[in-house]
């Protein structure tokens, strides 16, 4: 039941926020904050209570093992259940959702002044949908939440976004985001149904259950097509380069809270989907596809980095860096060694913190300067109180400075991938150079150089200070002592590696030439 409540709490909180608007703009904010706090506390409670770092090396023959599970029949006609389950990976990501949800509420405290209640309804429903995605292991239910969370996100961008210049309106950006993700989602639905019907043809039973479908025997070409359906849906959301078109627009036009959610959590649902579904359900096909996926990852790293260098809009720049970072994640996922997978988790968490930090900062800059155009900035160091200092911290994290969690994530990914795909790792490492270039360009253009005006802007107030400080603290904490996180997800990642890795072992041997 706890798992169900984890999903329901944001939805209920959202409805309360909507209705609380009639008492003024403050109650919805406090209710939303309280809701996410409860969510976070429950998750942390589960974290301290449960045993997630039990390595299941001895039980490798069993099907998937969950720390908590909840299941009731839903649509018996097709064997669809409301089947929720929690393991280390989903726990970490839900905790992340709770934390970033609080930040999203906090950073829109002053930014959103119109229709506050409806705004928080949408915000909380996105988070509810995301939690649903992280918990459901019935494929139908997963798809249900996967598609559902798009609707409030659409409203968030379309109604509270910023309209950019010439033809880049927020509605256009929101529509683009929605169509990209929804259309690719339908491909995933086709794949899910294909898998279910193959299973039905084999056994005569309908089932959308994760563990059951994992046993389905597929012909090679079928597996490849079905896997591609999943991959495209996740690739759009991650985003992988040829299908990333929605991301810069959506980020640039979204309100700060929307960007924080997008970069911090929504992108992670894609990586989660690959780890949870694409790889374990189609291990052989994924293995065959791995070189292509890694190539796309490498292209993403360079494409994102190079385009980031040329951006004038601060949020677009950060958006492109996300593409680059997700390139690393893609490489790590398809390398499939345990080390690389652990790196992926760390990278996901670290990127969520650093990207959220940068987006919140650009939101705060916007509140003060009323622009995100970096041509109109410059020389702001010393005029903004402690804001530039925090920026430096997050920029350093974003370029992967040792001591930050991002460094560890990228390092583990590259280190773990090397035995499997040395070529890709060597090329991808050059991405670090570009990361340094765009990160420093950001600092240079915004904070240094000739000043554009006189006077000093408002320093961070207590709320903003608290947000920044907690983010910096977490980036450093996981950068210096990531072991608790790695312990938590160890078992889950080991599981993925086991399911995916049967083939990868032989590849490793082949590549290294060891007996």
């Amino acid at each position: 039941m706890t798992l169900l409540w984890l999903i329901l709490i944001p939805f209920i909180g959202g409805l309360l926020c909507w209705q609380a608007e009639r008492f003024g703009p403050m109650p919805p904010r406090w209710i939303a904050l309280g809701t996410m706090l409860i969510e976070l506390l429950i998750t942390l409670g589960l974290w301290f209570q449960g045993e997630y770092h039990l390595a299941n090396a001895g039980t490798a023959s069993e099907a998937v093992r969950w720390s908590m599970e909840w299941r009731v029949p839903w649509i018996p006609r097709f064997g669809i259940d409301v089947h929720l389950a929690l393991d280390g990976l989903s726990l970490v990501l839900i905790a992340l959702t709770g934390f970033l949800g609080m930040l999203a509420v906090l950073c829109s405290w002053n930014e959103i002044v119109k229709r506050v209640g409806f705004f928080h309804l949408n915000l909380l429903w996105i988070l509810g949908g995301v939690v649903g995605v992280f918990l459901s292991i019935d494929l139908f239910l997963f798809f249900f939440f996967w598609e559902m969370m798009l609707v409030p996100m659409y409203f968030l961008i379309a109604l509270w976004g910023h309209s950019g210049s010439e033809g880049r309106t927020r509605i256009r950006a929101a529509t683009k985001f929605f169509i990209y993700t929804q259309a690719s989602g339908l491909l995933m639905l086709v794949s899910i149904l294909g898998l279910v019907f193959v299973h039905h043809a084999n056994t005569g039973e309908y089932s959308f259950d994760y563990a059951t479908l994992m046993q389905t025997s597929l012909s090679e070409s079928t597996a490849m097509w079905l896997m591609l359906g999943f991959f495209v849906a996740f690739a759009v959301k991650l985003p992988v380069v040829p299908v990333h078109g929605w991301l810069p627009d959506a980020h640039a036009q979204a309100p700060t809270a929307g960007s924080v959610d997008l970069a911090g959590i929504l992108l992670k649902t894609a990586a989660y989907g690959m780890l949870r579904f694409a790889l374990p359900l189609f291990p052989d096909a994924s293995q065959a596809f791995a070189p292509v996926a890694m190539t796309l990852g490498v292209i993403g790293i360079f494409y994102g980095a190079i385009l980031a260098c040329g951006q004038q809009d601060m949020k677009r720049l950060i958006a492109y860096t996300s593409i680059a970072h997700m390139g690393f994640v893609l490489i790590g996922i398809y390398a499939g060694t345990e080390l690389a997978l652990q790196g992926v988790v760390l990278m996901m968490v670290a990127h969520a913190f650093s990207a959220a930090g940068l987006f919140i900062l650009s939101g705060q800059l916007y509140e003060r300067l009323n622009t995100r155009d970096m041509r109109q900035m410059g020389g702001l160091w010393g005029r903004l109180g402690s804001l530039p200092g925090f920026s430096l911290c997050f920029v350093a994290a974003s370029l992967g400075m040792p001591g930050t969690a991002n460094f560890l994530g990228e390092f583990l990914i590259l280190f773990g991938s090397f035995p499997v795909a040395p070529g890709f790792v060597v090329v991808a490492s050059f991405g670090f150079v570009l990361a340094a270039v765009y990160s420093l360009l950001l600092m240079q253009r915004v904070y240094f150089g000739p000043a554009q005006g006189e006077g000093v802007f408002a320093d961070l107030d207590r709320r903003e200070y608290l947000m920044m400080l907690s983010l910096v603290g977490l980036v450093l904490l996981f950068g210096l002592y990531p072991q608790p996180l790695l312990d938590t997800t160890g078992a889950a990642m080991g599981e993925v590696q086991r399911l995916f890795g049967v083939v990868s072992q032989s590849t490793t041997l082949l590549l290294t030439g060891a007996p």
């Binding site: 839903w74 649509i75 018996p76 006609r77 409806f118 798809f143 249900f144 939440f145 598609e147 559902m148 798009l150 609707v151 659409y154 409203f155 379309a158 109604l159 509605i171 929101a174 529509t175 929605f178 169509i179 929804q182 259309a183 339908l186 491909l187 639905l189 086709v190 149904l193 294909g194 019907f197």
Partner: protein, 482 residues
């Protein structure tokens, strides 16, 4: 052959609807009273719905011309519910109409009776009779506010084009009769045998053209947007729901029963029509700025999706059709209901331009929620009934391995999103300062408003917990397939 008592009982819903129609006619002759007539109509329709439950236990039953089986009862229930919804809408809509108001219900009841006959017909004679009984009153309903140029235009346009389609249908029937010497479906099936020949094929094709016109299948869709736009709200609602459900039911019956419609040449043609209908309907909807026109094009697209079920025609397809028809009807009732409520009471042509809806959320949050839910449902987003329908169609295509159809459904849905989203976001934008029309203050306590709210709740409930709907439809399809 005489009619037995059981058979008479089985026809009870139809008889009740006809009796109500006669009652309404007599009552109008005696004294005009709008609310009383509307109430009387609603009571009659409700009684017919109740009678359906009784008939359910007797089914399946066949009379020479009509089959009272699961499919007939199922679509009869849908048609009666749609007619009830239209009655509630019409009452609000016509409240201050200057001309005669009561005859609208008379026409509505006749069309409903036609729908019931059509969906139960197993004989070409009843098919034709039912089809005309649906269409004739609809001409009157569409042109009901005839002082409005658009309304009159809609009525006349539908009349002329419908007549042409009827000619095709009759010619097709004549050809089939010439080939087999039978008019009942069973006789047609046995008469045609396996090799249907050129004339049989031509007859079947012409019948499909005739019925396809009523379903506005591309390329016979030209009338749809104009008629939807021009017709008064309640009439357009009836046209989009009850009439289409009835025609689709009979088409399904024909295709499932007769080999002539499963011949490979026709099969390919149907598949191509389905793909065309989905794509053209969705593409043309993109540029519309009038909500009723947009809904017209979107209904074209939805029948494209439904045709997929006909093309595949096995396994899940009756079930998928049933589920999709339920979701389509609920959604359409909701959407047209809101448009009609905004345009109620009657005062010139309907308020259907998108700018009328700009910022509606900040004036009428609950009404907007209804419209949002229906738009999401039409787009097939989870948590709404529309998703279950879309799920069935995709599942059907995947199971049969018809990848072209699946691809077209996906492409159509992606295009469809664009305009559904456009409507949705319009509702929430800041209000423009222009003069506007609005639903009456007390819309939610009127019958029409209540109906719309119930529909919206149903769309959500069936989207989250569709098991009862699926079970119900399965029983129906099991009964039909034997």
């Amino acid at each position: 052959m005489t009619l037995t008592a059981t058979q008479l009982m089985a026809l009870m819903p139809l008889i009740l609807v006809c009796a109500t129609a006669i009652g309404v006619m007599l009552a109008i002759a005696w004294r005009r009273h709008h609310t009383a007539i509307a109430t009387f109509t609603a009571v009659g329709l409700n009684l017919a719905l109740l009678a359906l439950i009784g008939v359910w236990f007797m089914a399946p039953l066949t009379t020479p011309l009509l089959a009272i089986d699961g499919l007939a009862l199922f679509s009869a229930a849908l048609i009666l519910v749609a007619a009830l919804a239209c009655t509630t809408l019409a009452h609000a809509y016509l409240a201050h109409y200057g001309g005669p108001r009561e005859e609208f219900y008379l026409l509505l009841l006749c069309a409903t009776a036609g729908g019931l006959v059509l969906s139960a017909s197993t004989h070409l004679a009843t098919l034709f009779f039912g089809l005309e009984l649906v269409s004739m009153p609809l001409y009157g309903m569409l042109a009901y506010t005839y002082r409005e140029r658009r309304s009159l235009e809609a009525g006349v346009k539908y009349l002329v084009l419908s007549a042409a389609a009827t000619a095709f249908l009759l010619f097709g029937m004549a050809l089939l009769f010439a080939e087999t010497g039978h008019l009942d479906f069973a006789g047609l099936v046995s008469g045609l045998g396996d090799d249907i020949g050129v004339w049989g094929l031509a007859g079947a094709a012409m019948m499909i053209i005739g019925l396809g016109f009523k379903l506005s299948v591309v390329p016979f869709h030209m009338w749809t947007p104009d008629v939807y736009e021009g017709g008064p709200g309640p009439a357009a609602t009836f046209l989009a729901t009850a009439s289409k459900v009835a025609v689709f039911t009979v088409l399904l019956r024909l295709v499932m029963a007769s080999p002539a419609f499963q011949a490979s040449a026709l099969h390919t043609v149907l598949a191509v029509l389905a793909v065309l209908t989905m794509l053209v309907g969705n593409l043309l909807a993109v540029t519309q700025s009038n909500l009723k026109r947009l809904l017209g094009y979107s209904s074209i697209a939805h029948f494209g999706y439904l045709l997929t079920a006909l093309v595949i025609g096995d396994g899940l397809s009756v079930e998928a059709t049933g589920v999709y028809l339920v979701t389509y009807m609920l959604t359409t009732l909701g959407a047209f209901g809101v448009v009609t409520l905004i345009s109620s009471p009657y005062g010139g042509s309907d308020a259907a331009a998108l700018h009328h809806y700009r910022g509606l959320f900040w004036r009428r949050p609950y009404l907007t929620a209804v419209l949002t839910i229906t738009m999401l449902s039409m787009a097939g987003i989870p948590f709404t009934a529309g998703f279950i329908g879309k799920f069935y169609i995709v599942a059907l295509g995947v199971e049969a391995g018809r990848w072209w159809l699946v691809g077209a459904v996906i492409a159509g849905s992606a295009i469809g999103l664009f305009y559904y989203l456009r409507v949705m976001v319009t509702l929430y934008l800041a209000e423009a300062g222009m003069q506007r029309r609005d639903a009456p203050e007390d819309w939610a306590v009127q019958a029409g408003g209540l109906m719309v709210l119930v529909v919206a709740v149903l769309v959500i409930v069936l989207g989250i917990y569709p098991a009862p709907m699926i079970d119900g439809v399965r029983v129906v399809s099991a009964m039909m397939l034997g």
